[in-house]
């Protein structure tokens, strides 16, 4: 199974190269949020994608999809255009053998939408349906923005993919699960090519407030750029970001037969559940361990074959502690000599997009023999005692890596990625 195209749009850049170049310099894509009013909130920062980086739907002949398109989908369209163009996707003739597998969540209801609805509600269970149905203000297309399946459906239309179209909804694990399940579909010979990845655009009031209330976001920071500090003793929550990552996964023989440029291999996929708590992670890292062990077994490799771990590394107290424990359990005595780094230190947590973006950055690092750093690493945590590639990218050739994604609710996924070997 090979990867023949990659694309992304992130707080660090409009595409893969720009994102990687900024990350290699240890730059942060985090700043004060401008997409909605944050005055009074204990966390006012996030990683936004510049509007100018999004594909302009009006310039696209298919712009009639715009009214159904959430911001998440627009990010995904941008990332997929890059990946599809690199893979030469449009030259593939048999479109029934091309599918889509997307990790995403429906767009949150907006405050203005709720306000509009409440004009027709008496507060006691009664609606003025005549008024609502005759209102010109409430758009029927809102419905499609809320549905988590719309993005996959429209992505299939936009890129003319008539094979399986999956919508994976599993928070932080959605991106890598979408890639992993696409990998299975190709393994099962149900498709030759899959567009797979994830997108997230939750930097709005309703998307943000829930994470504030459960105290999951970083609240103690001196500057926005230093708030996301995975594995650092002073970490105190994650930083919410938006973005999208897309890969074109392809059967090796299919890719060879059409002379596609092969970027790397997807060697294995592990997926598990903590089956424990809704936000707390399993104290013995059971689910995280199972996902990593599953990916290794699927790849017919052992921990000794792995040169680098792209960590989930959210900068929450619990995740980074438990992830370090899982890595120690997988690697045993070798754990402290395997570089582990978190891209979220620079771009924050893009939730459903994160695993897809991180899988691509891992592959790009392999091509460049460069391990991206964990920035803002200043205070050693005695309970997180691994080599986190602190603050500066490291030149080191590597050929095989694991990319972790562990979601709230204990949904876990791990991808094993390798350089292509003839």
């Amino acid at each position: 199974m090979v990867i023949t195209g990659v694309g992304m749009v992130t707080p660090l850049g409009r595409n893969c190269d720009e994102t990687f170049a900024n990350a290699a310099q240890g730059r942060s894509g985090i700043d004060y949020i401008t997409s909605f009013e944050t005055t009074g909130l204990p966390c006012r920062i996030g990683g936004q994608v510049k509007d100018a980086w999004l594909t302009d739907p009006e310039s696209d002949v298919r712009h009639r999809f715009g009214r159904f398109s959430s911001r998440g989908l627009r990010l995904m369209q941008t990332a997929t255009l890059e990946a599809a163009s690199q893979a030469g996707l449009e030259t593939i003739i048999d479109r029934e053998r091309v599918g889509v597998s997307l990790g995403s969540h429906g767009e949150n209801v907006s405050v203005s939408e709720m306000s509009e609805l409440l004009r027709f509600y008496d507060g006691n269970g009664h609606w003025d349906m005549r008024g609502l149905l005759s209102s010109c203000q409430y758009s029927p297309f809102q419905f499609f923005l809320r549905k988590p399946d719309t993005a996959s459906s429209i992505l299939s239309m936009l890129f003319d993919c008539r094979g399986s179209s999956l919508s994976i909804v599993s928070a932080c694990a959605a991106g890598p699960q979408a890639i992993g399940e696409a990998y299975r579909i190709i393994q099962d010979r149900k498709a030759d090519v899959m567009i797979a990845g994830g997108c997230e655009a939750t930097l709005n009031f309703m998307g943000f407030i829930g994470f504030v209330l459960i105290k999951a976001l970083a609240e103690k920071y001196t500057t926005p750029q230093t708030a996301s500090r995975p594995f650092d003793r002073k970490r105190n929550g994650f930083v919410m970001s938006e973005g999208a990552g897309a890969v074109v996964l392809e059967d090796l023989d299919h890719a060879r037969s059409r002379g596609a440029n092969i970027l790397g291999e997807l060697l294995g996929y592990g997926s598990s559940a903590d089956a424990y708590r809704i936000t707390d992670t399993h104290p013995k890292a059971e689910g995280a361990f199972l996902a990593m062990a599953g990916a290794l077994e699927d790849a017919s490799l052992t921990a000794d074959d792995i040169d680098y771990v792209n960590a989930h590394g959210t900068s929450t107290v619990q995740n980074d502690l438990v992830e370090s424990l899982a890595i120690r359990r997988i690697f045993g005595e070798r754990a402290r000599s395997v570089p582990v780094s978190s891209n979220k230190s620079m771009m924050g947590h893009t939730i459903a997009a994160a695993g897809a973006i991180e899988c691509i950055l891992t592959l790009m690092g392999m091509h460049r023999s460069l391990i991206l750093p964990t920035i803002n690493y200043e205070h050693r945590d005695p309970k997180c005692d691994l080599d986190y590639v602190p603050n500066e990218a490291r030149h080191m050739p590597y050929r095989r890596a694991l990319s972790n994604s562990f979601g709230f609710g204990g949904q876990n996924a791990c991808l094993c990625i390798g350089a292509f070997e003839e």
Binding site: I214, K215, R277, T279, D280, V317, L321
Partner: protein
Amino acid sequence: MKQTLITEQKVFEELKKAIVETLRSDEAAIKPESSLIKDLGAESLDFLDINYRLEQTFGIKMARHFILEHIEEMFGEGSAIDENGQLTEKAITLLKMRYGDVYGDLSGGIDMDTVPTLITAGSMTQGVLDLLDTLPETCSKCGNTAWKTEDGIRVKCGSCSEFATFTNGDDLIKNWLTAMQQEKKIF
């Protein structure tokens, strides 16, 4: 002011109700010394749920941050938790001054990650009572001193029927820390 309208027993009963509703625990198993995490199986999110229920019941606002976070914020990084993740001597002193023995014997040093396990039904009851003790002398609406309760839970003005308002939990801790610092110069 120290209030006497709502008894410790009543607070404990209401807390037990909140715990049962949140955790589906057996009410008989909830003792003052029960650790919510270790003995009753609570997770971090459950504290938000239980606090929310207590806030609705008593008309109070529970602290959003634990005292250790306030100490770090007011007296600087490292003031409550040292570089090994252990509570500092000063933090332990303050915990004892504020909460007595409610968190057990802390003299042997304690890791910050185990602090949540120290929260018991008894310490939560005390937390609610501390908030209720911020009952103002007079009603903010009519200015009279005529507090009463009909159900042993909500305090209202016997003169104008306005519900009493209490100090917010985070402000209560911060005010207390400020007063302690002025008095004892701990930091």
